[in-house]
Subunit: 552 residues, 2 copies
C-alpha cells in the first residue's frame, strides 16, 4: 500500500497474525465439543478430548524419537483411527505427513519411501508383507511402527515397536511443534500415476486450511456432521475432509473396506449423513443385492468425483434417497476446488437431462480464486459454447506448493501463472465446466477428435455394462481408433462385441464407435481410477488382450 | 523450516498464492450463480451478475474520480443495496471502506470524517441534514454522493452528484484494484464508544476473509441462505455477513428500518431463513402485537449478541418457532469469534436452565486461534469454575490490524501478545465463557463487586419490565450503589420504584439491589446497545434524571 494513513502503526503481532493451519481445528473441537464422539470404528467410540490427547502423544513421541521439522513421516493404512490421528499427530511433531496409497505394489511403495526420504513409517498389519518387500532393498531403512488395528486381518509384526507403545512414550500435554510459517509443507501426496511416474505433491498448511474451510462452505455442511470414510484418506488427505470434518466438530466413521453392505449398515447404525465416493462405489450401491440394502433413515449426501457418474447409476442412487453432487478433485489442489451445484431450476427437466447436467464438473468453489478453460500456450479462454475444448487451468491458495524435488515438472505445471491440470474441458453457456478428456485420452481418428468419455457414456447406457473404458488403438488406416474395455454386471447374459458396436452405432457418429470390444475385469489405480495407460498399452497387443479377457 | 527437502523449489507463485480477500466471493457468485437473486429491497430483485456489474462500476467510477489505494471512502446509510454494493465496490477501487453509524449525531460523524480523512462520502437522503451539519466546519470537505434510495424519506440533495450518476461514470468490465497484500486494510470501523471516544478499528482483507468463512462454518450455514439485514451493516461490516452471505451465494434481504412487522413480513414474503439481531430486536418480536405477527413458514435461525438475551424474551421467541443462538461480537475481531453452540444434551433440562445455559457467550469458533479468560497482567488463566473472573483475551487472524492513528491504544490492546477485549468473564466447567461485565460496568459498593448484568437479569424477570440497565451512582456511604433505569412494556400497570426494589430483594443479596429506580426510555447507541456511559452521567445528577423520566 502506498503512503497512506493505513501504512503506519498497524503491523502484524502475535495477537492478530497466526499461521493458518488446519491443526488448530483439533484444539477447538476438543475445547468446545470435548465430550462429542470424534471417531467411530467397530466397537470404538472416541471423544474429541480423547482424540486430541492421542494426537498430542503421537506428536510428542515422534519428537522424542528424533523427528525434526521438515522430516517425512509416512503411513500406510486404510481408513482407521490411526490414519486419522496421523493427520494431526504427524504435522504436530513438525514433520510432513506422507499417506501412502495402500493399493500400490512394493515397487510403488519403495519409490515413495525413497523419493520422500521417509524417516518413520507407520504400517497397518494388513500391509506388513507389502512393506517388507518394499523396504528390502532400501539403502536407509525407516523406523517401522506396526499398527495393530482391531479390524485388521492377521499380519506379521515387522516393526521396531507398535503404535500404542509409541503413543505411550508421548505426553498428552505436549504443546506441539507448530508451523513457523503457513507456507510450510503439511503433507506429501503422491499422484496415482495414471499417465506418468508418481509425483510428490506438496500442499502447505495455508492451502489445506483454505480447502478444509471451503469443503464445509461449498457443501453447505451443517455442524457436527457424521461423515463416513469411503474415500481413502491417502487420497489428497481425503480431499482435506480429515481436517474439515474436525473443523465442523463432526464424527469420523472409519471403514477399512468399502462395500455396499458396510455403507448401508453405517448409515443405519451410526447416523452417517455425508460421504464422498468414486462412481464405482455409487455403482456398487446401485447394484447391491436386496439383503445388503437397508432403508435410509435420513437424507444422506454424497459427493462423487474421479469420473462423471454414469446416468443410469446416478438415477438408481437418487431413487434410493441419496443426494448426489458431482465434484472435480485433483491432488494438486488439495481436494475438490470445482463443484457442480445442482440448480433447483433443473428439477423441472426430465431425469435424463438432469443426469446430463449433473455429470458436468461445475464451477469453482469459494476457495478457488481463479478458474478458466483456455489454450494452455496463449492462455486465451475458450468461448462458453459447450463445444470448444481447452485445458482446465486453476489459480489460488489451495494449489500445491509444487512437486517435491522436481523443479522442472513444477515449472511446467505453473507455466503462465496458472496451474495446468492436464484435463481437457469445455465451458457451457451457464459457466459450468465439463471435462471432455484427460489430455492423454483424446483419440484422434482420421483427423477427427474423439472424446473417450463420450463413447464411455454411451456404453454405460447398455444394460449389461458395469464399467466401460475407451482408449485409442493404433490403426493403419485411421491412425487411431477407439477400443472399448468392458466389465459386465454379474449374472447378465454376455453380449457379443458386435452387439456392443451396433448399440453404439445407433447412438453415435460411426467414426466414434469402438472398432474393438474386450470383456474383462478393468485394471484400476489405488484410488479406483481406471488405469488407462495400461489399457492403452494392451490395446496395441492382441496377445495381451487375449490374456486379459481370459483372466477377467 | 530448517534445511529439509521441502525447503527448495516450492516457492510462492502467481498460481498458488493469491492475497486472501472476501472480494473474490463476488466474482465467484456472479460466475457460478449469476442468475440467482442477490439482493431484495422493496420491489427490487437484483441478480448476482447484475450486482457484480454495479460493484465494478462503483469501483471504476471511484478510481476515475481520483481515489487512490489506501484512501478512505465513507458511507452513511441504512441497510440498502447501495450499502451492500459499497462493501465490494469501495474496496475494489483500492480504497478503505468506512461505514459510519447513522445513529450518531453530527459531532460523532464529524469526528469520524476528520479522523479517518474521508475523501468521498456516500450519503442516504435520510441523513443529508445530519451530514450537512457534520461537514459544515470540516477544513477539507469530501466529495459528497447522494444515494436516492427508493425507500428513503424525502431529504435534501446535498451531493456533488448522485449514486446512480456516479455508477454511470464507471465501467462494468473494470477488473478492480485488488489488494497488493492480504494484510492491507479493507475497512475502517469506529467503535460505538460505550466507554470512551470512538476508536478506528482497521481489519485486513485476510482477517475479514477468515471471519466470513467462519461465519458460514460456525453457524453450519446451508448454501444459498436468504439472509435478512436486521443487524446494521455499519456494525463491523455486519459481522462480515456482507461478505459471508455473498460467499454462500445467498440472497441479501435489505431493510431500512427494523420493526417486528417488517421482520415477520420478510420471513413470510421473501423466504428469509437467517438473521442476526440484538436482544432488543428479539424483545420486539416477542412483544409484537397479534396483527403484526405471521406464522413462520419454515424454521428461521437467529444469532443474537450485544448482551445476553433475557430468559423471558428467549423463551417467548423460541415458542414462536425461531431457533436462537447467542454469540459474542466485537468490532476488533471483525464479527463474532465466540459462539454458544447449543448442546443437544441441554434439551433434557428444564426451560429456565436451558435459557441460563444459552445466555452464556460460549467458546471460540474455528476462525479464532486462541481464547482465554485470564489475569490481564500476568496472563494466568482462570480456573474453569464458573466463578473466578478474568479478562476475555483473544488471539488470531480475525483480530484487527489495530486502531487507526492510535499506536498507544493499539499497543495496550495487544499487550502480552493477546487482544484485550475489556470484557470481564468467567469460564464454566464445560469451557463456555460467560461475560459477567464490561470492565467499566462493575459496580463496587462497600468493597464488594456487583455485576450490573446480574441485577439486570433479575429485573428482566419482572413482568412489567421491557429493558433494564443498571449502572453505578455515587454514594457517600458505600462509594457506589446500583441505579436501575427501566423501560416498561406498553400497556402494563406502572409499578413503583419501591415495588421493583422489593422484587430484587427477594431474589438478590441486599447489597446488590438498586438503591434508585428510574422509569424512562433508555438511550441507545447506533447499534442498539444501551449507552451506559450516558446513564452513568445521569445517575450522578438528580435534575437530569427528572428530565429523562419526564421525556420517557
Amino acid at each position: 500500500m502506498q503512503e497512506s494513513i493505513y501504512g503506519k502503526g498497524l503491523s502484524q503481532t502475535a495477537a492478530n497474525h497466526v499461521p493458518l493451519t488446519p491443526l488448530h481445528f483439533l484444539d477447538r473441537s476438543a475445547d468446545q465439543y470435548g465430550d462429542r464422539i470424534a471417531v467411530i470404528h467397530g466397537e470404538l467410540r472416541q471423544t474429541w478430548r480423547e482424540t486430541r490427547a492421542r494426537c498430542r502423544k503421537l506428536a510428542s513421541a515422534l519428537v522424542k524419537r528424533g523427528v525434526r521439522r521438515g522430516d517425512t513421516v509416512s503411513i500406510l493404512a486404510p481408513n482407521t483411527p490411526a490414519m486419522l490421528e496421523s493427520h494431526f499427530g504427524i504435522p504436530l511433531s513438525g514433520a510432513v505427513l506422507n499417506s501412502i496409497n495402500c493399493r500400490l505394489d512394493a515397487d510403488g511403495v519403495r519409490f515413495i519411501l525413497k523419493h520422500g526420504e521417509c524417516k518413520i513409517l507407520l504400517v497397518d498389519r494388513e500391509f506388513s508383507d507389502l512393506v517388507s518387500r518394499a523396504i528390502a532393498d532400501l539403502p536407509s531403512k525407516p523406523l517401522i511402527i506396526d499398527i495393530n488395528d482391531a479390524g485388521a486381518p492377521p499380519g506379521r509384526a515387522i516393526g521396531d515397536l507398535d503404535y500404542e507403545s509409541l503413543l505411550s512414550e508421548g505426553d498428552a500435554g505436549f504443546e506441539g511443534v507448530w508451523p513457523a510459517d503457513e507456507w510450510d509443507a503439511i503433507a506429501l501426496n503422491y499422484t496415482s500415476g495414471t499417465t506418468s511416474d508418481p509425483k510428490g505433491v506438496v500442499p502447505s498448511h495455508r492451502g489445506t486450511y483454505v480447502m478444509s474451510m471451503s469443503q464445509l462452505t461449498d457443501w453447505g455442511m451443517p455442524r457436527n456432521p457424521t461423515y463416513l470414510w469411503t474415500l481413502p484418506m491417502f487420497h489428497a488427505n481425503g480431499w482435506c475432509f480429515t481436517w474439515a470434518i474436525t473443523a465442523a466438530a463432526g464424527t469420523h466413521v472409519c471403514m477399512r473396506k468399502v462395500t455396499a453392505k458396510a455403507i448401508f449398515d453405517s448409515i443405519a447404525d451410526h447416523g452417517v449423513d455425508h460421504f464422498c465416493a468414486a462412481p464405482i462405489v455409487l455403482s456398487s450401491i446401485a447394484n447391491a443385492p436386496d439383503p445388503e440394502r437397508r432403508p435410509l433413515p435420513r437424507s444422506v449426501r454424497i459427493r462423487t468425483a474421479g469420473s462423471p457418474p454414469p446416468a443410469a447409476v446416478l438415477k438408481a442412487v437418487l431413487a434410493l434417497g441419496f443426494e448426489v453432487e458431482h465434484v472435480y478433485g485433483i491432488t494438486e489442489a488439495s481436494g475438490t476446488p470445482v463443484s457442480s451445484y445442482i440448480n433447483p431450476e433443473w428439477a423441472k427437466l426430465d431425469k435424463d437431462e438432469q443426469a446430463r447436467l449433473m455429470a458436468r464438473q461445475g464451477n469453482r468453489s469459494a476457495a478457488l480464486e481463479g478458474l478458466m478453460v483456455a489454450d494452455p500456450e496463449t492462455l486465451e479462454p475458450v468461448p462458453f459454447d459447450g463445444k470448444t475444448q481447452g485445458e482446465l487451468l486453476l489459480k489460488g491458495n489451495v494449489v500445491m506448493k509444487g512437486y517435491l524435488k522436481n523443479e522442472g515438472a513444477t515449472r511446467n505445471a505453473f507455466s503462465g501463472g496458472w496451474f495446468h491440470t492436464g484435463d481437457v474441458a469445455v465451458v457451457h453457456p451457464d459457466g459450468y465446466v465439463q471435462i471432455t478428456d484427460r489430455s492423454k485420452d483424446v483419440i484422434i481418428s482420421g483427423g477427427e477428435n474423439i472424446s473417450s468419455v463420450e463413447v464411455e457414456d454411451v456404453l454405460h447406457g447398455h444394460p449389461a455394462v458395469l464399467i466401460a473404458a475407451v482408449v485409442s488403438q493404433p490403426d493403419a488406416k485411421w491412425g487411431e481408433t477407439p477400443c472399448a474395455f468392458i466389465e459386465l454386471k454379474a449374472g447378465v447374459a454376455e453380449p457379443t462385441g458386435a452387439e456392443i458396436i451396433s448399440f453404439c452405432r445407433e447412438r453415435l457418429a460411426h467414426f466414434k464407435c469402438p472398432k474393438k470390444v474386450v470383456f474383462c475385469s478393468l485394471p484400476k489405480t489405488g484410488t479406483g481410477k481406471i488405469q488407462k495407460f495400461r489399457l492403452r498399452e494392451l490395446a496395441g497387443s492382441q496377445a495381451a488382450i487375449t490374456e486379459l479377457a481370459k483372466a477377467g
